[in-house]
């Protein structure tokens, strides 16, 4: 992975819901780059704004400030019709709940092909049929399934249909919003492996949104930890797991269940309390503390983080 190829970059983006005194800022001045071919993880609790970030990239959610660039071209705000169509094809999404995200009254063929109908007008029936069969076999389903309805499938199979629906557009970039949270452990492994395989074979880039750091460690190259609309820490996966600095990251890591009863029974849970930061004198900034490792902190905090890093090395 060469660090020079930035595929998508978010510059100081904010998303606000509501107006006036009811306004709620769900995403607060967030910036990050996603490199071509990597899996970029966004982790945080419910309400942290991680899904809103994903939706902003999908252009479902308008930004209140900042901009998003894809291959150097701005795709947020008002853009030309051609670029809009192109982005609709290139950026696809996989949703969390395979039970809720498929149209119960449509056959699989239509569900998977819908994107094609929307973007390219006048596609031939044969072409669509062919493309659906290919997309279904790519995700490990039989092409015959195209004539069935979603309720005939198990949760894992439905999630594969959701992935096939994204793949048929031959996207470059996929936003996967908690794609495995609603699945059983064994099915979860199948879907994760499928996502990894597709990435390898097609050079896809993922934005992977999840609250579960145990899965993130396995699939992501870099991870951004989001708390209340702000990125509090960003690093490549190994660094983040080896030197977690921000107390919120540490709390998330301490909560990962360890499948080892001896360790787990003695484990101490770290609880994150935002009031532990004293930001009255000095506001925190997002600083690079070691190569590729960013953390949100003010001066005194950076001091202690640096000390901790020095001790660990």
């Amino acid at each position: 992975m060469s660090k020079t190829d930035v595929l998508l970059s978010a510059r100081d983006i904010s998303v606000t819901f509501g107006k006036g005194h009811k306004a709620f800022q769900a995403v607060k001045h967030v910036s990050f780059d996603i490199y071509k071919g990597e899996t970029f993880g966004v982790v945080g609790e419910s309400g942290s704004g991680k899904t809103t970030i994903g939706r902003a990239i999908m252009r479902i959610q308008p930004l209140s400030s900042g901009e998003i660039c894809y291959n150097g071209e701005r795709i947020s705000g008002s853009i030309s019709r051609e670029l809009d169509q192109e982005m609709t094809r290139k950026i696809q999404m996989i949703f969390q709940d395979p039970m809720a995200s498929l149209n119960e009254r449509a056959k699989v063929e239509y569900i998977v092909a819908e994107g094609l109908y929307n973007v390219s007008h006048g596609v031939s029936h044969e072409y669509v049929h062919e493309a659906v069969s290919r997309a279904l076999s790519d995700v490990g389903l039989l092409p015959e399934f195209a004539s069935r309805f979603p309720h005939e499938f198990s949760g894992g199979q439905r999630q594969r249909i959701g992935i096939a629906r994204a793949l048929i557009m031959q996207p470059e970039f996929i936003v996967a919003d908690e794609p495995i949270s609603a699945l059983d452990v064994s099915i979860r492994a199948q879907v994760l492996n499928l996502l990894q395989k597709l990435k390898r074979e097609r050079g896809l880039t993922y934005l992977f949104i999840s609250h579960d750091l145990s899965v993130m460690r396995f699939i992501c190259d870099r991870i951004a930890v989001v708390h209340l609309g702000e990125i509090v820490e960003l690093a490549d996966t190994d660094t983040l797991y080896r030197h977690p600095l921000h107390p919120y990251t540490r709390a998330l890591l301490s909560a990962i269940p360890v499948p080892n009863p001896e360790v787990e029974k003695k484990k101490k849970l770290l609880v994150y309390d935002p009031s532990m930061h004293d930001y009255s004198k000095e506001k925190p900034t997002f600083v690079q503390i070691e190569p590729g490792h960013y953390v949100l902190a003010n001066g005194p905090e950076l001091e202690t983080y640096r000390e901790r890093l020095a001790k660990q090395d």
Binding site: R188, A189, Q190, L213, F218, T237, S254, I256, P261
Partner: protein
């Protein structure tokens, strides 16, 4: 281990009728539950783990019934219970349940405090002020700050984790002997999940509860369970102390469940995935139900259902691999990593 059995299930068979077809959800499962222990029942969706425990409370769907077997509890055979009046003596009162989804388990139209007080009035005969005071005390017990104010609030004013605490409060309000937690943390965030498990462990000690956890995620139960029962296709295929199941699993299905944990995966490599799907329970099952998905299956697995083989006095598994005549089989390598796994925070 304590020898006093509170609940004993013997060869339980539960069937459902669906569009004229018979589905056997529980295929002759047996289980002894010891007083004061916490037992985790682990399995995929459709393995029958929820149905199994629902049959202890008379909560099977209308088209389901207990075909044979016994559920012995306090000198009674619950499998013989027919009327709702019988069940009301047990359900909620002696055996209570915490449901998976705190968003749907509470009534949105009734204040949280009222919902707890209601249980107290129904089962413990407390009235008015006494019920309210007790309800506030329980809210405090489940870790809700400022319970007097929270008592008057509605469920929508609570976060997911807080709501699950309320659901737990309702379940423990009547001081039940057995608490069944059906996927108590699946709908929750990881940090909240850890807090809820902490709470359940703490309540178990304080109230002297016997707890059954139902989950599909073996990773979650390491912290809370004394014993683990692994369920597959309506039967318990392996049961043992928590350390025996994690460090010395014997059934290939347990191997598969443990191997597929993302915590054991290496980045860049494929995660272990169980091939295929669970068997169709509308058809009778020949031999070992897991055999078609089992890379270690022997010929005999497709012919005869294996009996339980004892590994230790507390640990047994239903697999022909434990038969002295079976060939020696190496368990998956990545299971050796379990013992070395530490936490993710190093000081």
């Amino acid at each position: 281990m304590e020898n006093n059995v509170v609940l004993s299930v013997r060869d339980l068979v539960v069937q459902f009728t669906l569009r004229g077809q018979v589905l056997t959800a529980i295929r002759g499962a047996s289980l002894d539950l010891y007083k004061g222990e916490s037992l985790a029942i682990v399995g995929e969706s459709g393995s029958g783990k929820s149905v199994f425990t629902k049959s202890f409370m008379g909560m099977l769907d209308k088209n389901g019934s207990i075909k044979s077997g016994e559920i012995l509890y306090d000198g009674m055979d619950l499998a013989k219970f027919k009327t709702e009046a019988d069940w009301l003596k047990i359900r909620g009162h002696r055996i209570a349940m915490v449901f998976q989804d705190p968003m749907t388990a509470l009534s949105p139209l009734v204040t949280v405090g009222r919902q707890i007080a209601e249980t107290l009035e129904l089962h413990q005969g407390l009235r008015g002020r006494a019920a309210k005071e007790k309800a506030i005390e329980i809210l405090r017990d489940v870790g809700i700050t400022n319970p007097e104010r929270r008592y008057k609030q509605y469920p929508h004013e609570f976060s997911g984790g807080m709501r699950q605490r309320v659901v737990i409060a309702i379940a423990v309000a009547c001081n039940p002997e057995i608490l069944i937690c059906d996927e108590p943390t699946t709908a929750l965030d990881v940090t909240i999940q850890a807090q809820i498990l902490d709470l359940l462990r703490d309540l178990q000690k304080r109230y002297g509860l016997t707890v059954i956890y139902i989950t599909h995620d073996l990773g979650v139960v390491a912290s809370v369970s004394d014993r683990i029962a692994v369920m597959y296709a309506g039967d318990i295929v392996e049961i043992g102390r928590s350390d025996e199941i994690f460090y010395d699993p014997r059934h290939p299905y347990t191997w598969a469940l443990l191997s597929s944990l993302p915590q054991l995966g290496e980045r860049g490599e494929d995660l272990f995935a169980i091939a295929g799907t669970p068997p169709n329970l509308f058809r009778p099952i020949k031999g070992d139900a897991f055999a078609p998905r089992n890379p270690y299956a022997l010929k005999v697995d497709f012919q005869y259902r294996p009996p339980y083989f004892d590994v230790s006095p507390t640990h047994k598994a239903r697999t022909w691999l434990l038969d002295p005549r079976a060939p020696k089989v190496e368990r998956p390598k990545n299971l050796d990593r379990i013992r070395e796994m530490g936490g993710f925070i190093h000081e």
